[in-house]
Amino acid sequence: MIPSREIFWNVGSQQGAVYLVALMSVAIASIGLLQHIKGWRKGRKEKIFDQAGNRLKYFFRFLLSHERIRKDTYAGVMHLFIFWGFVVLFLGTLIIAFQEDLLLPFFGRKVLEGNFYLIYSLVLDLFGLLAIVGVGLALYRRYVLQPEKLDNKPSDLILLCLILFILVSGFCVEGFRLNVSNPQWALWEPVGWLFGTIFNVLGIATSTQRGLHKIIWWLHLIASMGLIAYFPFSNLFHVVSSSLNVFFRSLKPSGALVPIDIQEGEQFGVAHIQDFTWKDLLDLDACTRCGRCQENCPAAISGKPLNPKKVIQDLRTFLQPFSHNGVPLVSNIVSEAELWACTTCRACMEVCPVFVEHLNKIIEMRRHSVLTESKFPSEYKQVFKNLEIFGDTLGKGKLFREDWASNLTIDRVYQQNDTGLLFWVGCMSALYDERSKNTPIAAAKILEKAGLDFGILGEEELCCGDAARRMGNEYLFQHLAKKNIEVFRKYKIKKVVTHCPHCFNTFKNEYAQFGADIEVVHFMELIVTLLREGKLNVKSKIDDIFTYHDPCYLGRHNSIYMEPREILGLILNSDMKEMDSFRDKSFCCGAGGGNMWRAAVTGRRIEGLRVEEAVKTDASGIITSCPFCEIMFDSAVKQKGLEYSFRLMDIIELVNRVT
């Protein structure tokens, strides 16, 4: 006998009803799907169909490897089980449909017979079991472990129970069928066989089992079709929305914000939901409420009013039908406290498994607030005016910009025909206070030692505009950027080195938007090259043990993780110690996004949390490579009374000391 089975066995000639149910569920699902599409179409147009091949390639890699989802191991395994379970079960159902609706009626042939049928049964059974385990894990996590980052809605419970019911009822049907028809290859369907054996052990009569089979078969069918109908109205829709979002993910440099036209108009940034692009709205729909952003957001962790997941979910309400598009977002949907608490550290985007871009939404709303409404935390007005009048955030003025070099013998202000490397000093280092000047001094000495031809712009340097842009003042940013680019052009500057991650990120990723054509390297990249080439030699090593803080704009925004560790490996006698959160999970210093100039209104100090983390490593000090981080940590270290026991230094100072 050839192993096979009759598809509508025991159910008989009610195929018509089956198709009717299927049609209905698909119809309901389509309505739901259309609503989603309608929601996305509220947004502005944006063309992002470039690099389709690359996108597709990455999409499949993402699906197969689950690389971003796996970053949270429990959730990753759970998702992997459910995902593959469903994929295989779905493929199995497709094969059945293919056979029943195409092969049999038109060609009178079957595929589900013989060895193929046996393997088919085995595979489907095993993956079905995998899915049950996955759903079980999910239920356990959601309702027993209850991690803080998850918010449970009734729909979550309905969905999981529905899926569990479909899976279990499927196996029940299988068990009954095996018991009644009793084929010799029953063990090829091990889970069904197990269910059947249980029914037999329970002593259910064969005739009863035949009856139950019919009932549960129908229930299974209805539940499955129900799931299809429910699909666009539940979190399961992420199968579509998140997949699309992964496909359409931003391929722009991760540190760059999108420029806006500031020449004309009455409204800038995002005031209402329809000012977002369709991709932004797809983002909202793609959010699965996994809570990883919330778990990694320094603002949320330190008890500030911001929770990135909540922002996305709050905005998402506009995608529902009958939502009022005219409601201004800022202060109605996203409170001002939330809006301004973001440090733009990008931790949320780094951990989001489905590439939701929280940051650009926050920035767009800030832009509206600052540019159109002129509303922002009162502390920022002085910063904006300082930038506008003095060209630096501190309001010191350009005449102080060369002071840091006053004790150096170098006289290297850029002249018209200079061709060397431009060393960009940055406001924070040049102007903040005496201590902040140590870094550029050390940097200049290293450049000297390496025998590099370099110059500084001195008085002609202006703030790069990073702070203004992240605070939503695109007008000021573009004003500063254009002036700086003019100076670059004037001296025909080709290559810039800077030690400030904010200047670095802005030059590297954003100035091109305004026609700058410069090569930008961070000082650490330069040091690594110099050390490798032997132009810089480590003369002695440092005995102390340090830990390293990855600045957000160097790490997450520009993926420079390896260089500092390589440098520290060369100049420290012992291994450096990593903090609990490092590299792409590094915890912010609290300065970014304009928060340096803000007094924390609620919650704990972000820099304080970070210093605590650093102290916990038992290192004798913390090394960073960002003037902002250094200033923030300096005050945290002082406030904790650690100023004589815990050291704080820029990696460049350390390098200068040993070379």
């Binding site: 501190l394 903040y432 206070d433 803000r598 200033i631 002082k638 406030q639």
Partner: protein, 344 residues
């Protein structure tokens, strides 16, 4: 009529407690000037029932006093003062008229200057030259630039001088001087503004940027020190401010925070108690005129910013400071001459 303007005039200012320090400062400066220019030092004493101020004025060198007493002069009404002073100028034609760059002096000086088309120089530092070639130096452009101004030909020259910049000279014994008492009829219809009331400022509530003296505290002061520091502040008429640490610890409110993320302050005196001097803090106060720091830590960074550095426990020191201030104040009230109890 005389041929040329004569006399260096000083407009007296007073409050309920008598002649204000600014007048004494002007007299101190005016004496030197009068001697150099060989002019008579005169005081215009305007008010209602102000004759009691005359002895003090003579102690500080007034040689002649023009006294106008009138009900309408009891308040510093600009219109009344301008009218009366105008009458005096018309009659006596002085050479230089000096006033304090106080709220009332600062509007009176240009008002009179405009009325008689006279040269007016406000916030002057010093007066050099003589006869037709007087030169006045003043600070401008954020104190980065001094400018010298030639008040061209017309006299009297009207000058205001900022308070607190001149040392007050040692007083002499009161002496007899010529008092010219003038009766001036002030037409009622010239009074276009009217004082309604004086609202007393409370250093505890005024904005930190306005504060003249700030007692600032840091995390080192601790919550328990707030009462004594408040007492010190009250004794000095100072406002309380603090570092970010103090705000974080909930000792003071955010509106009272000094630093890069709080207020930038430039008081005449800042007393830093238990503040280590994080860069965040010093960036917000480095332009304070005088800084006194009390800290238990010899190496505290705040000492680099302080004019007076005291290493010690503020809990021990401040209560004694308060006592000593009270004693000094009592001595002053017992009739010691103001501003001169330094030898006590």
């Amino acid at each position: 009529m005389r041929l040329k303007p004569e006399g260096i005039w000083i407009l007296e200012e007073h409050d309920d407690e008598g002649t204000k320090n600014i007048t004494l400062e002007l007299l101190s400066e005016g004496q030197k000037l009068a001697r150099r220019l060989n002019e008579q030092l005169c005081v215009c004493l305007l008010g209602s029932q102000v004759g009691g101020c005359i002895p003090t004025l003579t102690q500080y060198g007034a040689e002649k006093i023009y006294l106008v007493e009138h009900e309408l002069l009891s308040e510093c009404s600009l219109d009344a003062y301008a009218f009366v002073l105008g009458e005096l100028i018309k009659e006596y034609d002085p050479y230089i008229l000096m006033m304090g760059a106080t709220p009332s002096g600062s509007e009176l000086a240009p008002r009179i200057a405009a009325r008689f088309k006279l040269p007016c120089i406000t916030e002057a530092k010093n007066i050099t030259g003589q006869e037709e070639n007087l030169q006045i130096t003043k600070s401008a452009y954020n104190d980065q630039v001094y400018i010298t101004i030639d008040p061209l030909a017309r006299r009297p020259l009207i000058v205001t001088m900022p308070p607190g910049e001149t040392d007050i000279i040692e007083p002499n014994k009161p002496r007899e001087v010529e008092v010219i008492k003038k009766n001036v009829e002030i037409p009622a219809d010239i009074m276009r503004t009217k004082r309604k009331r004086i609202i007393k400022g409370d250093p505890r509530t005024i904005r930190l940027e306005e504060a003249d003296i700030i007692v600032s505290l840091g995390r080192g002061a601790g919550n328990e020190s707030l009462p004594i520091l408040q007492e010190l502040a009250d004794a000095l008429g100072a406002s309380i401010g603090g570092s970010r640490g103090a705000v974080d610890d909930g000792i003071i409110k955010f509106e009272r925070q000094i630093g890069i993320s709080g207020k930038t302050v430039t008081p005449r005196l800042l007393i830093a108690c238990g503040i280590s001097g994080a860069r965040e803090f010093t960036a917000g106060m480095e332009n304070s005129n005088l800084v006194a720091a009390v800290n238990i830590d010899q190496k505290a960074r705040i000492f680099d910013y302080a004019n007076l550095c005291i290493k010690g426990d503020l809990r021990m020191i401040i209560p004694q400071v308060i006592d000593k201030i009270q004693i000094a104040k009592q001595k002053r009230e017992k009739g010691q001459v103001l501003g001169l109890d330094t030898k006590s």
